[in-house]
């Protein structure tokens, strides 16, 4: 029967229509239920639109300073290794201000899981350029379109992290179709399993629509992910040295 996951609180999402956060929250909670992690999970949401994730996830959660999620998660996991610790981070958080924390947590092979939401803009602050903003994409701080000579290129954190030895499982998915949402759920499950199996750092990058800041309808935003974002950020498993077969 299709019901609300046990680890998803009875609350109304504050997210904009067509936003990917609510879909991702839901599939994460489904995985937490299915893997029976509700009493072990500790989540670290970032400043930004998803700062209120703790109003939705019915698991222990704590706020983090912008970009420091991987360090906070490291501290929790080191102090209490029995916990299943995840960060929930946007592109500005994980790929700009928190690049160092993320790379080094991965390099130490911290047994934590990063859920990395890539929507190519800073959402809560009003749609400024993110490190993952596409070339020519207009944002409030690239009003003429992102120009590589001036603003540099969209950064591919997952590919960069794949070079890091302590990172054992990295996959990029999207939440712009039922099929992609199913793949996202499967990737999240595998990322948590990687942590449970004590193998190292795991990360799922999720291309997620932000219709409000993209100035699009939700349907156009789903299409834009397929047409534009996946060209720069191709979907699929980027690294998997877990030695585990995929189980459906």
């Amino acid at each position: 029967m299709y019901t609300r996951p046990k680890s998803l609180k009875m609350a109304r999402f504050h997210y904009c229509p067509g936003c990917g956060h609510s879909i991702i929250h839901r599939v994460m909670c489904e995985v937490i239920d299915e893997m029976d992690l509700q009493d072990k999970a500790i989540g670290i949401p970032p400043p930004g639109c998803s700062v209120f994730a703790y109003h939705y996830f019915d698991v222990d959660m704590a706020e983090s300073a912008h970009g420091r999620g991987a360090s906070v998660a490291t501290g929790i996991k080191r102090a209490y290794p029995q916990a299943i610790v995840f960060t929930y981070q946007g592109d500005g958080d994980l790929a700009a201000i928190g690049t160092g924390e993320t790379l080094h947590a991965a390099n130490r092979g911290e047994r934590i899981t990063a859920i990395f939401i890539n929507n190519a803009v800073y959402g809560m602050t009003g749609g400024q350029m993110a490190p993952t903003t596409l070339l020519d994409q207009q944002t409030t701080t690239t009003p003429y379109g992102r120009d590589a000579r001036i603003e540099g290129y969209p950064i591919k954190m997952s590919e960069i992290l794949a070079l890091i030895k302590g990172a054992v499982y990295i996959e990029r998915t999207a939440v712009n179709s039922p099929a992609n949402i199913r793949k996202t759920k499967k990737a999240i499950r595998k990322a948590f399993q990687t942590q449970i199996d004590d193998l190292g750092f795991s990360l799922v990058e999720i291309l997620s629509p932000c219709p409000t800041n993209w100035r699009m309808s939700p349907v156009e935003a789903w299409q834009w992910i397929d047409k534009e974002m996946t060209k720069e950020f191709p979907l699929g498993v980027i690294k998997d040295i877990t030695g585990k077969e995929d189980a459906d």
């Binding site: 009493d39 999970a41 222990d60 704590a62 983090s64 360090s71 929790i76 102090a79 029995q82």
Partner: protein, 355 residues
């Protein structure tokens, strides 16, 4: 336990382990590296303990924040420029009412400054240091023994009031070797704080946060912190007095400067000059009332610091215009000698006719 000869930085590490510190996260910076190295050698392989050499000071303080969330005693240490970087995390610790111990073996500033002992981080330590309306308890040891004792006390105070506590030493205290006695054995069982995040097992899920879109809610958090700070001001002031009973000139100095001043006072007494000292051990809360009471008997105060006059402002506030305040300071990492301070004190005595 018998006394052992130890450098100050290592003594902090040993005292922390004996206080049940379970997690230490650090980053190399002179003059506190012996502490990080001590924890690598003595804490990292202890059962249930963790040591990480972080990639930055910011990361290290956020690991402390994480470990404190999980309910264990956690510590980080650094020196002045690194402590500036930690301010973000200290503000979050204060906001979320999380205990932690932060050691600053301070050095000359501003900027990269020098690696020599200085006391120029007084403002930063006693005024909160990071963004927002908060305080940290600040303990100022003046010997290796006191580094050990106050490190232990720092963990107790952090837990008692659920706030970050700063141990403000300096490069000289950290580097010098003295006999030290550790009064506590390391606990067999490491304590876990209530309100820790350890998974919602047999209890509802927990949220540790301050962010809110309702100003009145945040205001209440601020008032609640304020009430705790008022209680700390009432309960936790500590200080030492030295020959103040008949003193006509009272030197006010903290940390290593007080140690230097003590030498000067002994010289002054040998010359028949009635000089004494008040040494704040807690810099916040500051012994304002105690200083004020001294002013009923003594009219002349010499504030001596290894900076350009920072604690001076707290002394001015405490005395409320009672008595005359003089200042002598050496900023930038210059370490004054007892005879230098003696010359300043004796000149004042003669100028003021305090014989």
């Amino acid at each position: 336990m018998a006394k052992v000869l130890m450098d100050g930085n290592s003594a902090i590490g040993e005292a922390a382990i004996r206080a049940g510190c379970q997690c230490y996260f650090g980053y190399p910076i002179t003059p506190q590296n012996e502490l990080t190295e001590y924890m690598a050698a003595h804490l990292s392989r202890r059962k249930g303990c963790s040591f990480v050499q972080a990639e930055s000071e910011i990361s290290a303080i956020n690991m402390v924040y994480g470990a404190s969330l999980a309910g264990v005693r956690a510590m980080t240490s650094s020196s002045s420029p690194g402590i500036s970087l930690k301010q973000e995390g200290i503000s979050y610790l204060a906001a979320c009412e999380l205990p932690a111990v932060i050691v600053n073996m301070s050095r000359g500033g501003p900027g990269l400054g020098s690696i020599v002992a200085s006391q120029s981080d007084y403002f930063q330590a006693t005024r909160g240091g990071g963004h927002g309306d908060y305080r940290t308890i600040v303990l100022a040891p003046s010997s290796v023994q006191e580094l050990a004792d106050l490190t232990h006390r720092a963990f107790d105070l952090a837990d008692k009031y659920q706030i970050p506590v700063v141990v403000l030493g300096d490069g000289m205290l950290g580097q010098m070797k003295e006999p030290v006695e550790f009064k506590h054995e390391a606990p067999e069982e490491l304590p876990v704080r209530s309100r820790a995040l350890r998974g919602a097992k047999n209890r509802p899920s927990r949220i540790i946060k301050t962010f809110t879109s309702k100003p009145t809610e945040l205001e209440e958090i601020n008032w609640s912190l304020y009430r705790r700070y008022q209680l700390i001001k009432k309960e936790e002031v500590t200080y030492e007095t030295f020959l103040v009973e008949d003193a006509e000139l009272v030197i006010v100095a903290f940390g290593i400067a007080a140690r230097i001043a003590k030498g000067a006072i002994k010289n002054a007494r040998a010359d028949g000059l009635k000089v004494g000292m008040l040494r704040p051990i807690t810099l916040w809360p500051f012994p304002s009332a105690e200083l004020g009471e001294l002013a009923d008997r003594t009219k002349n105060f010499l504030v001596f610091e290894m900076n350009m006059g920072q604690m001076l402002e707290d002394v001015q506030l405490a005395l409320e215009g009672k008595g005359e305040i003089f200042f002598y300071g050496r900023p930038g990492g210059v370490i004054p000698t007892p005879s230098e301070v003696f010359r300043v004190a004796s000149r004042l005595c003669y100028q003021k006719g305090l014989k």
